[in-house]
């Protein structure tokens, strides 16, 4: 901890520079924030990414179209599904590959399961930060049940490597629908406990209400999406405004809250999980038969015509985009991810932290769903 200014002034009026992370108990992920504090108030915050830089975008230029598919999911460990989806859709756009209807449905089922798993991970992080270890434990357990489903569906628990250009990699195993519904029922039965212990708990309300307020205007000006925007009352969800997959074929709602504070954002996440559970049931009801995958050309000879595309979708954290360009060769010419945590974790976080208490740093950061790996790609 380094004291850099106004040394002469004593007591709480001194401004100190503190490091929150990367090795801080309250920090989730390889990330750090430099806080300038006076007393326990944050005067200025500066986010420092770069601890997890793996150079994915450059790596992708050196790998063939199919070899990138096991790579992209690693950009974000929290929700690999959306990464697979955005890459596959971009490749399909460039190469003109079509996905069979059943493949689209299975993709959406898988993406919604990923969203729930990701939100449960977020809930674990958030509740632990506030000291609700029990709720965190429940969330992690329920996430594990979904990972079991992924294992059954894809063969992997975290890096599922499941959505690939042309559809999905395997059809649903026998009995998968029933087991998915069982898991969702199990999680659903626990919702009253979650509510009572956490969402309706005064401790949570006291810690989260009015903290880390991001106004709608501020969010829109700085690239805020996802819960950050929906917590300000704006019904903005890419699944609705620019539907992909089969989200326009089922009936579902966009949950919002009005206040733009940490409380609103966490409550949006909670409602979204419930909405996703409903959506999965609806998707299963309409699930068509037929193939799930249209074969792509021979991967060793797959030249994708020259062109560029930008694909965006609603990840669990907000707008996830991929700009992908091909020069007609067997590898991407350029790939660039637009990840939601980038604006959330850098500009918005810095603004939201200013004026808040040091003890709310983790609280605000996690309510903005800052996921370090996708900032450093």
């Amino acid at each position: 901890m380094e004291i850099i200014s106004e040394k002469k002034k004593g007591g709480s009026s001194r401004e100190l520079e503190l490091y929150f992370g990367p090795q801080h108990l309250g920090m989730i992920g390889n990330f750090s924030i430099t806080l300038n504090v006076r007393g326990d108030r944050i005067v200025r915050a500066e986010a420092n990414p770069g601890y997890l830089h793996r150079g994915f975008e450059k790596l992708m230029e050196g790998r063939s179209w199919i070899q990138n598919f096991p790579l992209v999911c690693r950009v974000n460990v929290i929700e690999p599904g959306s990464m697979e989806m955005v890459y596959s859709t971009a490749v399909e756009n460039l190469a003109g590959v079509k996905v069979p209807p059943r493949g689209k449905y299975i993709r959406c089922i898988y993406l919604e399961l990923s969203r729930i798993a990701s939100h449960l991970f977020g809930l674990w992080a958030y509740s632990k930060t506030l000291g609700f270890e029990t709720v965190g434990g429940w969330a992690m357990y329920h996430r594990d049940l979904i990972l079991d489903l992924f294992e059954e569906l894809t063969g992997g628990r975290v890096y599922n490597i499941y959505i690939w250009p042309g559809g999905v990699r395997r059809d649903l195993p026998e009995g998968f629908e029933e087991r998915t519904k069982d898991v969702l029922h199990e999680i659903g039965e626990k919702v009253p406990d979650y509510n009572q212990t956490f969402f309706e708990n005064r401790l949570f309300h006291e810690r989260a209400r009015g903290v880390g307020v991001v106004s709608r205007e501020e969010a829109m000006n700085t690239g805020g999406t996802g819960q950050v925007l929906r917590a300000t009352g704006l019904e903005y969800d890419i699944r609705k405004v620019e539907p992909y997959g089969v989200y326009d074929e089922i009936d579902w709602d966009v949950p919002t809250r009005e206040d733009g504070d940490a409380y609103s954002r966490i409550m949006v996440v909670r409602d979204e999980m419930i909405e996703s559970v409903h959506a999965i049931f609806k998707l299963f009801d309409k699930l068509p038969g037929g193939p799930v995958y249209n074969k792509i050309p021979n991967p060793f000879k797959w030249n994708i015509p020259e062109g560029e595309t930008y694909v965006r979708l609603e990840s669990s954290r907000g707008e996830l985009g991929l700009y992908l360009a091909s020069d007609g060769g067997r590898k991407p010419y350029r790939a660039h991810f637009r990840t939601p945590s980038y604006p959330h974790g850098l500009t918005i976080l810095e603004k939201a932290l200013a004026g808040e208490s040091i003890s709310d740093t983790g609280n605000i950061m996690i309510s903005l769903y800052v996921t370090a790996p996708e900032i450093d790609r």
Partner: protein, 620 residues
């Protein structure tokens, strides 16, 4: 929720779980079963694995390296190498792309994922499966999770495995358009129509570029490159790649024995890439080889080579030597080039135009041809040896064999029959033809006879039958030829041996008397047929064609010189690694040297001899 003011005591509600059974399992005393599709450690079926290396090529992390396993036998003709994938688990990300791209379906993932070891070098390992390393895969009662590692694995624990609907390759060939049997048997129309550009590109796209075909090809063509160039819409480049090793693409694109396709890794579970038809497409799609190839004869070396025989071997040698700058003269008794390919394969399989296309290009490089010149009659072999700095014998098997049975002189010999029809005056056939033999020449003769019957006896019913010593599963002809012949309605009498040609009082052929064959080969595997003399069969027929093989004719060489020419145990001309015979300066190749007896091996011999002659004449 919003109405009432929440209490901090709410969290006490969670206390009820204190009295429930915990959800956490007591690892390692309780184990959780991985899902049936789990992507764990690799399994590899060593018998099915060909060592093609596609897994190595697809691996995004370079975790797979193909390593040589010396105790494994290599069999390039079957597309088998002694390479096997070695996985570095420090790099592997368990994506399973290697499984989806394995054309042999050998590589799978198991549900084992634990490796407990003190030595990090054990991370690198060559996977096998239960079949090839049973001792490492233990039944449940012997397995202990505390000892789990790559050599201590569970039995019957297959995980993520190949599903052909999701594989990264296509098993079905782009179908080759052909003239249907009912139509093609009425004339000599070329049976195989040939791919269109789109079809050729689609077929070329299937190639996985593993290169097993190149190891299997006697002439070692750059198949991956020329097939790749077709996919890249560059037929000129394709032709250039072919001409590096084979100057006869139009001929080979039609009648090659396609050893490459037998080795193709896609053939292990589906159809091999149609390499032969792709070569044909390249040759056919280019009007003028000269403009595409831009090859010029090498700088004149001032030395001359005489080649006896203008078949595939002689033609290829002429091409290779012209590129090196040697003067070349080719002698042949036929009125045109092509040798066995000129007279053997009927028009419906190899039209003369297709031969002329290749030959004209070779001639354009400055090769001197002396057709209708029989060595031994019009010019002596000794004279050639005197006049030319080196000589090449590529005379082929031109002397047809006869069965020697009673009245064999009433039968046609297949080679003469085919030659007469293709480049001579033609033969009259009867309404019932019997062909003796089960090889490719017999198929050619039978199918040609069938066409002649339809043309000479229109509107009447005709019968063509073959009789062979070999049974169905032993027939020396390729499966494709047999299948096509059957489609055209040719009758087969396998496992019958010819005994006697029956003739009537006027000396006209009545038919062929056959006896049942007990076995063709003796216990040592040598050709030594035995017959069941009690079982006889009479095949009616008015025309009989003998197609039981042919041998070389060396009568053009004087007895003194011939005495010095060495032969192998299989009666082949013995040549050294440079293609030179025991006669100094005399090289040889083609059917008189190799046992494959096909065009592409003849070309391969010519390639060797061209280097040998170059060394010999430049005194290296």
């Amino acid at each position: 929720m919003s109405g009432k003011r929440p209490s901090i005591l709410n969290s006490l509600g969670a206390g009820k779980y204190l009295f429930r059974r915990p959800k956490t399992i007591k690892y390692p005393f309780e184990l959780k079963e991985p899902a049936p599709r789990y992507r764990g450690f690799h399994l590899n079926d060593w018998d099915a694995c060909t060592g093609c290396g596609n897994c190595e090529d697809i691996c995004p992390n370079e975790a797979i390296e193909m390593v040589e396993v010396p105790e494994l036998e290599e069999a390039p003709e079957e597309g088998r190498t002694n390479l096997r994938p070695q996985i570095n688990y420090g790099r592997c990300c368990f994506c399973g792309l290697c499984v989806d791209v394995c054309p042999a379906g050998a590589l799978r993932l198991s549900r084992d994922y634990l490796h407990i070891h003190f030595d990090t070098d054990t991370f690198t390992f060559i996977p096998k499966d239960q079949k090839s390393a049973g001792e490492k895969f233990l039944p449940e009662e012997e397995y202990s999770v505390l000892k789990a590692n790559l050599d201590h694995r569970r039995q019957d624990y297959e995980g993520f495995s190949q599903d052909l609907d999701f594989s990264l390759f296509r098993l079905d060939r782009v179908p080759m358009p052909q003239v249907p049997p009912e139509e093609r048997k009425l004339s000599f129309i070329e049976q195989v129509i040939g791919y269109t550009k789109e079809e050729a590109k689609g077929e070329a796209e299937r190639c996985l570029e593993c290169g097993l075909c190149e190891d299997a090809c006697p002439a070692g063509l750059n198949i991956v490159d020329y097939v790749g160039a077709i996919y890249e819409d560059d037929p000129d480049e394709s032709l250039r790649q072919i001409f590096k090793d084979n100057p006869l693409p139009s001929i080979c694109g039609r009648v090659c024995m396609k050893h490459c396709e037998d080795a193709c890794s896609l053939g292990k579970q589906g159809d091999p890439v149609a390499i032969r038809w792709l070569k044909r497409w390249t040759a056919d799609s280019i009007e003028d080889y000269k403009r595409s190839l831009e090859l010029t004869p090498g700088e004149d070396k001032g030395k001359k080579v005489g080649i006896v025989g203008a078949g595939p071997s002689g033609l290829s040698l002429a091409y290779f030597l012209r590129l090196k700058g040697y003067g070349v003269t080719v002698f042949d008794s036929l009125p045109g080039a092509g040798g066995a390919t000129r007279i053997g394969p009927p028009q419906y399989r190899l039209p003369l135009d297709a031969i002329e296309k290749d030959v004209n290009y070779i001639a354009s490089l400055g090769v001197e041809f002396r057709f209708c010149t029989t060595v031994g009659e019009d010019v002596s072999f000794e004279e050639i040896r005197d006049v030319y700095d080196a000589a090449y014998l590529a005379v082929g098997n031109s002397d047809p064999l006869s069965t020697g049975i009673e009245n064999a002189d009433k039968a046609h010999l297949a080679l003469d029959f085919l030659r007469s029809n293709k480049i001579g005056e033609g033969v009259e056939v009867g309404r019932e033809v019997v062909v003796i033999g089960g090889g490719n020449v017999a198929m050619d003769a039978a199918r040609e006879a069938l066409r002649l019957q339809h043309m000479q006896h229109p509107e009447t019913s005709v019968v063509t039958k073959t009789v062979s010593l070999e049974d169905w599963d032993e027939l020396p002809a390729t499966g494709e030829e047999v299948e096509e012949a059957r489609e055209e309605g040719i009758q087969f009498n396998p496992a019958w041996g010819p005994k006697k040609i029956e003739v009537d009082g006027d000396g006209r052929v009545k038919g062929l008397l056959c006896t049942k064959v007990k076995s063709v080969f003796d216990e040592d595997g040598r050709f030594n047929p035995s017959f069941d003399e009690d079982r006889e069969k009479f095949l009616e027929g008015d025309t009989i064609i003998e197609a039981i093989g042919q041998k070389p004719d060396f009568s053009f060489i004087s007895e003194e010189t011939f005495g010095k020419l060495e032969f192998t145990e299989r009666r082949k001309v013995r040549v050294n690694e440079n293609g030179m015979t025991s006669l100094p300066g005399v090289f040889a190749g083609g059917d008189i040297v190799n046992t494959n007896l096909d065009a592409v091996t003849a070309i391969a011999d010519a390639k060797v001899a061209s280097e040998g002659i170059d060394c010999y004449l430049s005194g290296k």
